[in-house]
Amino acid sequence: MTEETRTLVIEREFPHPPEKLWRALTQPHLIAEWLMQNDFEPVLGRDFKLHVESPRWSGIIDCKVLIVEPNRKLAYNWNSMGLETVVTFTLTPTKNGVQLRMEQSGFREEHARNFHGAKLGWQKFLGNLEQTLARLD
């Protein structure tokens, strides 16, 4: 496979101690409050699922814990409908709290149309539009 993948990076500083953020990232009832319903356990190699319920993100995301470094780093697979990515959270203490960096890597262009199209039943529609856009440039 020589196909290029892309990585999404989102960063934000929170005025809270890293230990507190770590709890929000690793305790199932807290994860449910900000991310999704889940059966997460902070154990290396553990499989778990994230459940999504919204018009645009319905379904289940299959995950496996890849890295657990308490208060520092957490990573898991994020696989859903043919999309195979890895989500990595890195916590860095700052003067006022903690910097959270979320990296989601492994995005492949070919999956974009299938993934969103399948969710919405729009494969044909998005395919046509992509052609339309291509002709405009």
Binding site: R6, L8, I10, R12, F14, H16, P17, K20, L21, R23, A24, L30, E33, W34, L35, P55, R56, W57, L100, M102, Q104, F107, A112, F115, H116, F125, L126, N128, L129, E130, T132, L133, L136
Partner: protein, 106 residues
Amino acid sequence: MQTPDTIFRSLSDPTRRAIFERLCRGGEQTVWMLTEDAGISQPAVSKHLGVLKLAGLVGDRRDGRETHYSAKPKALAPLLDWMSLYAGFWHERFDHLESLLNRMDQ
């Protein structure tokens, strides 16, 4: 620029999608030409066009008493760039995370 959310919402209706596709394929058209094909009333077509216009997907041009509508497919770019959708998703989740942290005990 419109957000993917606005664009998604505006295209969530099959009739609106059909109108938009027709404009993409057939070029500039009046509301009457669109009504003939749509199988719904002219006011209904006008309403759909209004929603598409708000989302930046359709533009209009007055010519005398007629308004000509045309598709602006470039407005779809954020929708086709799925990474921007994920970025939107994570920003929203980070907002939830921030409010959760504010509610949690030390």
